[in-house]
């Protein structure tokens, strides 16, 4: 599955399972947060990615919060 910030690009190139990310320079991070908060945020996104992988889809699907 595809974790990326600009989800319309992911849709255009044909990804079927998409999870939106935080920002272009830090898709799975946020430097404004404390280290442990940032890691928790990262874990949340990866959990969403695993949810996407374990969910049946019949077309392109964006797994938002």
């Amino acid at each position: 599955m595809h974790i990326c910030t600009v989800t319309p690009i992911s849709m255009t190139v044909g990804a079927n399972r998409i999870v939106p990310a935080i920002a272009i320079p830090h898709p799975l991070g946020n430097p404004a947060l404390k280290k442990d908060e940032e890691k928790a945020l990262r874990r949340k996104i990866v959990m969403k990615a695993l949810e996407a992988l374990t969910t049946e889809v019949d077309g392109q699907t964006i797994f938002e919060d």
Partner: protein, 350 residues
């Protein structure tokens, strides 16, 4: 004005010597002769140009004796001193297309004589030589002879006379990577509005920038048993070991990297960095987990949320990388992942 002198190169088939059984015909110079498709060229030239000699060579002979055939033919052309050299058209005949491209490029580069050839876009000779010599795009078989000559002849005349050559779309040659700036008559905003109005009215319009064709694949079935699944990480964010040992380019990547993360539980400023030149690298260089989330996947592996994090990750730089390259990298990476029993991939992009 004196007639433009042309030397024409054709193969054994178009010279009506024979088919496959005569493909080993050695290069032969026929001075003063116009042969096969040469007659169509002559009709098109009228009295502006004349074919002063035709060179015939078997397609297998050329390709199997490359150095000798090239040398012999170059000597023949040099002796004839034409103003322009025409090879083919080869349509979809692969060996013929390669021969045409090779000899036309050689005449141009080594004798300084302008050259034109023509073939179908999918001819292997096309990708090999379209950037080296003007190559008219033809149909894929000889039924397209008239159309091919109708474009090759005028271009040959221009080259023979030393006249400027127009854009590929105007003259009919395959785009060869040469860009010439010019001022449009209407400004861009006006052209964009015109295009949009046509599009809204369902009328045909011509894009100024064709998009690559992005294919679609059917979604794979969901991963059934995540706790025993092998998950792999791939990224276009350019995360590489510190120092970028394989020199992945910051833009227009020519290759991808494969790196072993056995025993790696966290990416740090000292051990990893980004090679990507298309986003602000500060955050990824401080902590590459922000692009390649190895730290949390290791935790999940330890906790049993996933079965295993694959010991290799794959990386390239997405910035300005050709779609064709990306496709090729992915095909290879996919094969390797499958061979390694990976069940699912998390691809991260910036």
């Amino acid at each position: 004005m004196a007639k433009i002198k042309v030397v024409h190169y054709i193969n054994q088939f178009f010279a009506q010597i024979g088919g496959e059984e005569k493909a080993d015909y050695p290069a032969e110079l026929r001075v003063g002769e116009t042969v096969g498709p040469g007659l169509a060229f002559a009709a098109n030239f009228k009295d502006e140009a004349e074919i002063i000699a035709t060179i015939v060579c078997g397609d297998s002979y050329f390709n199997e004796n490359l150095e000798k055939a090239k040398a012999d033919i170059l000597a023949m052309v040099k002796e004839q001193k034409p103003d322009v050299f025409i090879a083919g058209p080869a349509f979809n005949a692969g060996r013929y297309g390669v021969a045409c491209g090779t000899i036309a490029a050689a005449v141009q580069e080594e004798l300084g004589i302008p050259a034109v050839t023509g073939m179908y876009v999918e001819n292997p000779g096309a990708d090999m030589f379209k950037n080296h010599v003007y190559m008219i795009a033809t149909k894929n078989n000889a039924a397209g002879m008239r159309g091919a000559v109708a474009k090759m002849a005028p271009l040959a005349l221009k080259l023979g006379k030393g006249e400027p050559v127009g854009a590929s779309a105007e003259e009919g040659y395959m785009p060869n990577g040469i860009r010439v700036n010019f001022f449009e008559k209407k400004r861009g905003s006006a052209r964009a509005v015109d295009m949009l109005l046509k599009k809204l009215a369902g009328k045909p319009f011509e894009t100024e920038y064709p998009m690559p064709n992005f294919d679609r694949v059917a979604p794979n079935p969901a991963v059934k048993d995540l706790a025993h699944a092998k998950i792999a990480l791939v990224t276009s964010g350019g995360i590489v070991p510190k120092g970028n040992p394989d020199h992945i380019e910051s833009s227009s990547a020519s290759h991808y990297g494969e790196y072993d993360i056995t025993g790696v539980t966290d990416l740090t400023e000292d051990t990893y960095e980004t090679a990507h030149g298309g986003y602000d690298p500060v955050y990824a260089n401080q902590d590459a987990d922000r692009v390649l989330p190895i730290d949390v996947l290791r935790d999940m592996e330890k906790e049993g949320v996933i079965g295993e994090l694959h010991h290799l990750f794959y990386t390239t730089v997405g910035n300005g990388t050709a779609v064709a390259s990306a496709k090729a990298f992915a095909a290879e990476i996919g094969r390797k992942l499958k061979a390694d029993g990976v069940d699912a991939v998390i691809l991260t992009s910036t």
